[in-house]
Amino acid sequence: MDDILIARSLFGTTMGFHIINATIGVGLPLMILAAELLYQKTNDIDYAVMAKRWTKAFAVTLGVGIPTGTIAGVQLSLLWPGFMEVIGRVMALPFQIEIYAFFVEALFMSIYVYAADRIAPWMRIASLTLVALGALASAVLITNVHAFQGTPAGFRIENGELVDIDPWAAFFNPSFGVTAVHVVFTAYMTGAFIIATVAAYKMLKSDFGSNLYKFHQKALMASLIIGGIFSILTAANGHSAAQYLHEYQPEKLAGAEGLFETQKYAPLAIGGFTDRETESVKWGIEIPWALSFLAGNSFETEVRGLNDFPEEHWPPLFIHTLFNAMVGVGMLLITLSLIAFVWNKLLKKDKFPRFLMWLFVLSGPLAMLGIEFGWIFACTGRQPWTIYHVLTTEDSATTATNLGILFVLFAAVYVLLGVMEIIVLRYYFRKNTVTDDLNRAQQKEIPLYGSNT
């Protein structure tokens, strides 16, 4: 492997691992907040216990998410010094503001957990809201850098020098809004479905109608509602995201759809694999005219194909598959939420069939896979650029060689942390069961939060 490929693999591994924890870190606080608010509204102690248990899980994911995020932030400079030199000059603002968001999250997370029993309930909710806002803001801001990479703005290049730098114009680059919203919606969706996974699994393992069953049922319903809402919002926003590609990064859209010839009435290829030789998508289903309509709201929209661009600027052709996998996961989750809604609210049945429960169990991992597919699609689809039509990946990378050993070391640490994280979570929740927490919550003299930290 050449050094750039190793550098990309190393950074990709860091991000691939980090976004699992980061996504949960953005998604879970919203669920915790929902549980806290439900508790204040219903006075049902189950919700207080939910908030406490999810906070514990959140703390553990932060324990891995914070260091891997630190790695990602510093590795940017270590592996991509050429990229960060440009970013430092033009696009420092989101990183800088993200720091403040981190501080807000870190300060109020500690307050929420370690001062829970010393502060007023409204202050607890305020702290938690600030934690959720801090997590949200850091996701939005780091996504802003990603948006800038696709739709750079706020500077010109003259004789190889960056001139006329306007950092706020760079900050509000064209795709900032749509990309940031995409990341936030999918994180909330994923956070909710992760809860659904656990709740559905626990319901399958407990007796129907028992307190334990009811506890998990409440969690499942809350997560399905929130997950369902955000999966539908994601679809709507994903559509605008694709239209942005049509306008700003046509090569990427062409790669995502496996379209070679520029055309009006372009067909939409679903599934299959892009074949270079025949310049077509093999094994896919073609819906005539659909791509033109999706790209520009009209069948007459001309969609540019890959042949319009020099081949060295093409994204890798496999992104078609990644793109489809991402969209497929989203569609599946919407369908699942709608079925649950019809079953529970319209047909008013109080028990989901077993196969549906198992599908709920799968929903969390599926949503997370969707995040990974989408993220790999977004970043490999931008190749060969780190900043679209401005800076190539090759010019961004470190000149250092022998990165292989670093790749092995980092990968090993991620495996260690990932495995430990799962072991610690399982250990903790086995040792402190829902029943334990319910008992603690009922005995007022033992503070729920302090009882086992």
Binding site: A59, G63, P67, L78, V90, A106, A115, E421
Partner: protein, 349 residues
């Protein structure tokens, strides 16, 4: 003051704040490990009581520091990023293990000891590597060939100066943290823990001072340019040593409030902070205008003026927003007697 000078001053401020917070953080993790078997002294409890709510905030500072470098001095970020690939990666690996295992040790009670050992040991190695950035920026270990830069690792790790820095970082970490924990124990009315940490501070203070002298001695041979410039401000260095002596005295003299107890740890903390502040001012001033000697200066590495103004504005706004948060945080964890003097809650029900 030029923009570049303002920027480097802000950066120096961040470095100093992070250095103090990090020594507390890594030191507390280490002491929590050392005294884990001596449950009656409560020294481990005190260290954890400090560490649990603060580590995330401290960790954020290191990210803030890195971001400050690339947003204010992008060209320096390029050089530093290139030459620090190996030491930087080592720091990141240790830091991730340290933070994650710190959290794990708080959650998995039955395995607390082994998890604390892993996080404590990886934590105490980090300051030694972090401080290596300083001798690297002195230029002797960086090879500038044409447009590219390269760090000569074997030269770095055979240099007495590098080891003086490492020794200084580790001893200072233990010194400052034991001193601060002594103060924290006294505020928490944990007299036994106070005595332990006061004793540790009295032992480690002189060691860290000796290390500082060793740095100066080896600096003269290896980076004479900065040594000579530091000597221009010799009187401030002497003032720094005076602060150290007053700090030491404050630990030995009887407490004003309680005559039975020896030492005024709060005063000692302030004096020792002033000692480090004075010394790092001299060091930082002598380092100018170079970020990485002799190729990268604050002027040559400085960002676009528009970007700097925007970034600086966010510093002011960010500070105004965060300041009340920090005050509230401080009042809950450093001042609140209910937190400081908590009875140990029942571990398991």
């Amino acid at each position: 003051m030029t923009d570049a000078l303002t920027a480097i001053t802000v950066l120096w401020g961040f470095v100093f704040i992070y250095a103090v917070m990090a020594t507390m953080d890594f030191g507390a993790g280490f002491w929590s490990m050392v005294y884990i078997n001596k449950t009656q002294t409560k020294a481990t409890n005190i260290a954890n009581r400090y560490l649990s709510p603060t580590w995330e905030v401290t960790n954020t500072f290191i990210v803030a520091l890195v971001v400050a470098v690339y947003s204010m001095f992008p060209k320096a970020a390029y050089t530093l990023g290139t030459v620090l690939l190996i030491p930087g990666s080592m720091i990141l690996l240790l830091l991730s293990v340290r933070s994650a295992f710190l959290v794990f040790s708080n959650i998995a009670e039955d395995y607390r000891k082994v998890l604390t050992y892993i996080s404590g040991i990886s934590g105490i190695l980090i300051p030694g590597l972090l401080i290596s950035v300083l001798p690297i920026t002195h230029g002797g270990f960086v090879e500038f060939i044409g447009g590219s830069q390269n760090l000569n690792l074997s030269k770095l790790f055979t240099s007495p100066n590098e080891y003086a820095f490492i020794g200084f970082a580790v001893s200072s970490t233990l010194f400052l943290s034991s001193l601060l924990l002594a103060d924290y124990s006294k505020a928490s009315d944990e007299i036994h823990a106070y005595k332990v940490y006061r004793r540790d501070a009295l032992i480690l203070g002189p060691i860290s001072l000796v290390m500082a002298f060793l740095i100066m001695l080896t600096l003269r041979n290896e980076a004479a340019w900065i040594y000579e410039k530091m000597m221009d401000d010799l009187y401030i260095l002497i003032v720094s040593v005076v602060f150290f002596l007053i700090g030491g005295l404050a630990l030995v003299l009887p407490s004003i409030g309680k005559k039975s107890l020896k030492g005024m740890p709060r005063l000692a903390v302030i004096m020792i902070t002033l000692q480090y502040l004075a010394a790092s001012y001299v060091y930082g001033k002598a380092h100018l205008p170079y970020i990485v000697y002799p190729e990268v200066t604050i002027q040559s590495a400085f960002t676009d003026p528009n970007s700097f103004r925007a970034v600086f504005t966010t510093y002011i706004v960010g500070f105004l927003i965060l300041f009340p948060g920090f005050v509230y945080f401080w009042s809950l964890f450093m001042q609140d007697k209910r937190y400081l003097r908590q009875k140990k809650v029942k571990e398991h029900s």
